[in-house]
């Protein structure tokens, strides 16, 4: 027997031992809404109008911005309005799903503990019992253990890399922290962003976050991985495609010592559920608005067979849709969006992990994906056997349009395999644990704050709330987060009440 033959036989024997029968994995894509969107884009034909309804205010879009506008109108005792949502399920990026194990999010899954400037968020949370007498309800704060990161073959506590750092890495993390501390102290980086925006920070918006980091002499590979991860996580974009202003805002807008974030099994779907309990009667889902036209002192809003007439329109749907819907609106240039794929994996048992045990948010270093969140994390139970993991993948390498094309082209099997391959790196037995993988694709998931987006004249003009057509989507802040969506929704509602003489 030659040595080569010996080695071949030996390794074949070892590989043979590791092969086990793969389980059947069920699932599919759960959303088809892009078809509706494409019909708009391609100027498809819509059914003729057969009935007319009159309202003072019509809200277009039932994501957090639209629902927050409705919440404010309802809270002020105003009843003459309706909210039109394209999808069958309202919630936008805060939609959720539910199976026999648990509820789980389809996208946004937490809200950071709001700071003092986020007054509307605090007001909402007081109403929902999340904030009581200045104390955050313990059950809604993310339980221990919160986060872990997989690197160098094992899981460590926390997402910020802590093991294997050189003195140089540590020094750069420390210097960045100092810079962020100063930015935070400047008061220019707030949530909502409008409340702090200073012209003196416009320079920062001109360069990419990567360029800015390198200007500061931050060349640590670990630090740059972490900065990239943060940009992908909040903006769906690489640091090189992100405005340095937005990169700084991610860190400087929040206090570091807050114990949080606030989270629920169904993610921000929990908030949507509570809002729908209050004003679900105003919400009409499965109603795509395909035309908005100004007719003298009122607007005509067409969805399906119904024409709604309103004195005032709150356009809370993603702003990029507006030129396709609003008659006479010029095309937009400064709005870019990141495509995302999310997956919900049903697990019949937990796979093995080496290092820290399963946490709420689980991130893998140098993976193109963002890792996964455990939907059973907020359970009060001490014993958990089955769970659902929500797997996040911001398609940030390459251009958004190429990635949108990829989302449309590739079938469920392709993405299922891609996801399992990614997870197999950290959980070799994952295929033995998963029984179902459902997918949701988002062609335009989040506004992408590319360089120049924050100080864009186009964005700032549309965000102004003058006239009777009020734009309210979070993309008018340059980036999509819950607090911005809610702020813009509430502000648009306040303005609408003023316009119809109810303020």
């Amino acid at each position: 027997m030659s040595r080569r033959k010996f080695l071949e036989t030996g390794s074949a024997a070892l590989i043979g031992l590791s092969i086990k029968g793969d389980r059947f994995i069920a699932g599919g894509f759960v959303n088809e809404s892009f078809q509706l969107g494409h019909k708009l884009r391609d100027h498809g034909s819509f059914v003729a109008v057969t009935k007319v309804e009159k309202h003072s205010v019509v809200i277009v879009g039932g994501g957090i911005a639209g629902l927050s506008a409705a919440w404010r109108l309802h809270k002020r005792g105003f009843k003459d309005f309706v909210l039109l949502e394209m999808n069958d399920q309202p919630g936008g990026n805060s939609r959720w799903g539910e199976n026999e194990i648990t509820a789980y999010p389809w996208a946004a899954h937490y809200v950071p503990v709001p700071g003092p400037k986020a007054t509307y968020v605090r007001e909402l949370f007081e109403e929902l019992g999340v904030l009581k007498d200045g104390v955050w309800e313990e059950r809604f704060l993310c339980f221990t253990p919160q986060e872990r990161l997989f690197l160098y073959g094992r899981w460590q506590d926390g997402i910020e890399p802590a093991i294997g750092l050189t003195d140089k890495d540590r020094d750069q993390f420390r210097r960045l922290e100092e810079l962020i501390h100063n930015f935070r102290a400047s008061g220019a980086f707030t949530i909502p962003m409008e409340r702090g925006l200073l012209p003196s920070t416009a320079d920062l918006d001109r360069s990419s976050f990567t360029d800015w980091l390198s200007q500061q002499g931050m060349d640590s590979r670990i630090l740059n991985w972490y900065m990239n991860y943060c940009c992908r996580d909040d903006y769906g974009a690489l640091a090189v495609d992100t405005s340095a202003w937005a990169g700084v805002h991610y860190f400087a807008s929040r206090e570091p010592e807050d114990k949080g974030p606030l989270t629920w099994p169904e993610g921000n779907g929990w908030i949507v559920k509570r809002l729908l309990e209050r004003m679900g009667t105003y919400v009409r889902s499965g109603q795509m608005v395909h035309r908005i036209a100004e007719r003298g002192k009122s607007f005509s809003i067409c969805s399906g067979e119904t024409e709604h007439r309103a004195e005032c329109v709150i356009f809370a749907a993603p702003t990029f849709l507006a030129p396709y819907i609003i008659e006479g609106m010029a095309p937009l240039h400064d709005f870019e969006y990141s495509p995302w794929l999310t997956a919900n994996l049903t697990l019949d048992r937990l796979p093995a992990s080496y290092g820290t045990d399963l946490t709420w948010d689980n991130v893998v270093m140098d993976s193109p994906t963002l890792g996964y969140v455990d939907a059973m994390h907020q359970t009060l139970r001490s014993h958990v056997e089955r769970t659902v993991w929500t797997f996040y993948w911001a398609l940030s390498e390459g251009t958004p349009s190429a990635n949108r094309a990829l989302l449309l082209q590739k079938d469920w099997n392709y993405w299922k395999e891609a996801i399992l391959h990614d997870l197999e790196r950290v959980h070799p037995d994952i295929r033995q644990c998963v029984s179902r993988i459902d997918l949701m694709s988002f062609g335009h998931a989040m506004a992408r704050p590319k360089p120049g987006a924050i100080f864009s004249a186009e964005r700032r003009k549309l965000a102004q709330l003058n006239g009777r057509l009020l734009f309210a989507n979070s993309d008018l802040s340059g980036f999509s987060i819950f607090e911005e969506a809610q702020y813009r929704g509430v502000r648009a509602a306040e303005t609408a009440l003023h316009l119809v003489g109810r303020a």
């Binding site: 010996f6 030996g10 313990e138 339980f143």
Partner: protein, 498 residues
């Protein structure tokens, strides 16, 4: 012919290394300090190999015959080494002496193998080739063994069976050698019969390996295991030594029947006897029925609701004669209602009110159990207290886990409860702590049920006094989103075990 010969070199090298690794691993398992164990075992083994090599010069004739015998001996001694060591640890005092003796014997035999084999084959090849080939395959065998051992053998076969498997390989080489070297052997028949007999012996051993480990494990638990079961939720082990029955859950001691009365009397009576008219009682945890036994000493108590996660646990303590003897058939009382549920969701959804709530969970060793020691949990539990109601919490040791104990007290305070910490001595546990918590003032009772063996009215005041080495520590409360208790508990026990 040549290649077959060198494969036997590879195999015997692998066998030798496996025996050495098994001895090192076993010693690390059983004695701890793996650096010391592996260093001394490798040292002894290599030294013994040197002795073997040195002795090989005194063997002048019958090289092939002696080689077959060495392989046979190695197969028997090496093959049974692991089983022998397990049993030696369990049943004898001289484990280390036996272990090093075994290592030395095996090392000497392995040291003899290669020099003798090289001399057997030296006529057939150039000396240069003999050395090169033999040593190459020797090292290759070592590599194979060192990879197989952690990846395949330990996880899938275990130490006892791995040793026997490689013993079989040694004997197979012996049998094979009777064919390879038939010309150099006087008679092969007797040798072959012997080989087959040893193979049979090892095969029987391989089949019985589980019983050998079970016999050894019995003794590692110190006492006889009378019950062991993996339920969906935990690993339950009951042991008995004379009249002492002990319950272990996931290897943590829950009680010893010799002194459990101290624990359970102290858990129940200081609070329950102080409640004017206790009618309804809730027990969370306590699936052994021993706390319920104490509660049933109060005729005013009309109903006891016991919530325990594991149905196999409550079933065991409802039916096993030895255990129903301990809890005096408390689970068979018509006053007792058993609910098998996860405690936190149950407490959250129930609307019943109770005069006395007993919280008797395992210590907060992980974040899952830690949820049952949080402000959120205590607030939810306190909502079930009646106007006269009291709650008592088993709170780990104020002596060994002082930070943890006072963290639990602080957590109860932050749940807006008044707290009354106390402690007792339970020999099998050491100093143990409890906390009475309530929305109102607590006064120790002046009357106790008859027939108690430990708690007395006179002794009560001293239980509420903490000497300086257990006195209060300033600790933050344990919250769902910041489980300081689990980290403190981990640290407390690390501090005393090192």
């Amino acid at each position: 012919m040549g290649i077959l010969l060198f494969i036997s070199v590879l195999l015997i090298a692998a066998c030798g290394l496996i025996y050495e690794l098994i001895a090192g691993t076993l010693a690390s398992y059983l004695l701890g300090d793996s650096v010391l164990q592996f260093s001394t075992i490798i040292g002894c083994y290599l030294f013994a190999m040197g002795i073997g090599s040195a002795l090989s010069r005194y063997i002048h004739r019958g090289l092939a015959y002696r080689f077959v015998w060495i392989e046979l001996l190695l197969g028997v001694i090496g093959g049974f080494s692991s089983a022998l060591l397990f049993l030696a640890f369990a049943y004898s005092q001289g484990f280390q002496i036996i272990m090093y003796a075994l290592v030395v014997v095996i090392g000497m035999l392995v040291g003899l193998e290669i020099p003798i084999l090289m001399r057997i084959v030296r006529e057939r090849y150039h000396f240069r080739d003999v050395v090169a080939h033999v040593l190459t395959f020797d090292y290759l065998g070592a590599l194979g063994a060192s990879l197989l051992f952690p990846i395949l053998l330990v996880p899938y076969f275990g130490l006892v069976r791995s040793a026997m498997l490689f013993g079989l390989i040694n004997v197979a080489v012996a049998l094979w050698s009777t064919f390879l070297f038939s010309k150099q052997l006087p008679s092969t028949r007797a040798l072959r019969v012997l080989c087959v007999l040893v193979i049979c012996g090892l095969a029987v051993g391989l089949a019985q390996a589980k019983r050998i480990t079970a016999a050894a494990e019995d003794n590692i638990y110190a006492d006889e295991i009378i019950f062991a079961r993996d339920t969906r939720y935990q690993h339950i082990v009951l042991t008995r030594f004379k009249d002492d029955i002990r319950l272990f859950l996931n290897s943590h001691l829950q009680f010893s029947s010799r002194d459990e009365y101290r624990y359970h009397e102290a858990l129940i009576h200081p609070a329950l006897a102080a409640i004017p008219t206790p009618r309804r009682v809730l027990v969370l945890g306590g699936g052994d029925g021993l706390a319920v036994r104490e509660i049933l000493k109060y005729p005013q108590v009309e109903s006891v609701t016991l919530v325990d996660l594991d149905p196999e646990m409550t079933h065991l303590f409802s039916t096993h004669p030895m255990l129903t003897g301990l809890n005096q058939k408390s689970f068979q009382s018509p006053r007792v209602h058993i609910i098998n549920a996860d405690a936190f969701p149950w407490v959250d959804s129930s609307t019943d009110s109770f005069d006395f709530i007993v919280i008797d969970f395992p210590d907060p060793t992980n974040y899952s159990l830690g949820k049952l020691y949080t402000t959120a949990f205590y607030k939810a539990a306190a909502r079930h207290l009646s106007v006269q109601g009291l709650m008592v919490v088993q709170s780990t040791s104020p002596m060994f886990a002082r930070d943890s104990y006072w963290c639990i007290v602080e957590t109860l305070k932050q749940a807006n409860l008044k707290t009354y910490p106390y402690h007792v001595y339970v020999p099998s546990f050491g100093e143990w702590g409890f906390v009475i918590a309530s929305g109102h003032e607590y006064q120790p009772p002046t009357l106790l049920p008859a027939g108690l063996r430990f708690v007395s009215v006179d002794g009560l005041p001293s239980m509420f006094q903490f000497p300086p080495d257990m006195s209060p520590m300033t600790m933050p409360p344990n919250r769902l989103n910041d489980q300081v208790l689990v980290r403190a508990y981990d640290q407390d026990w690390k501090d005393i075990s090192h």
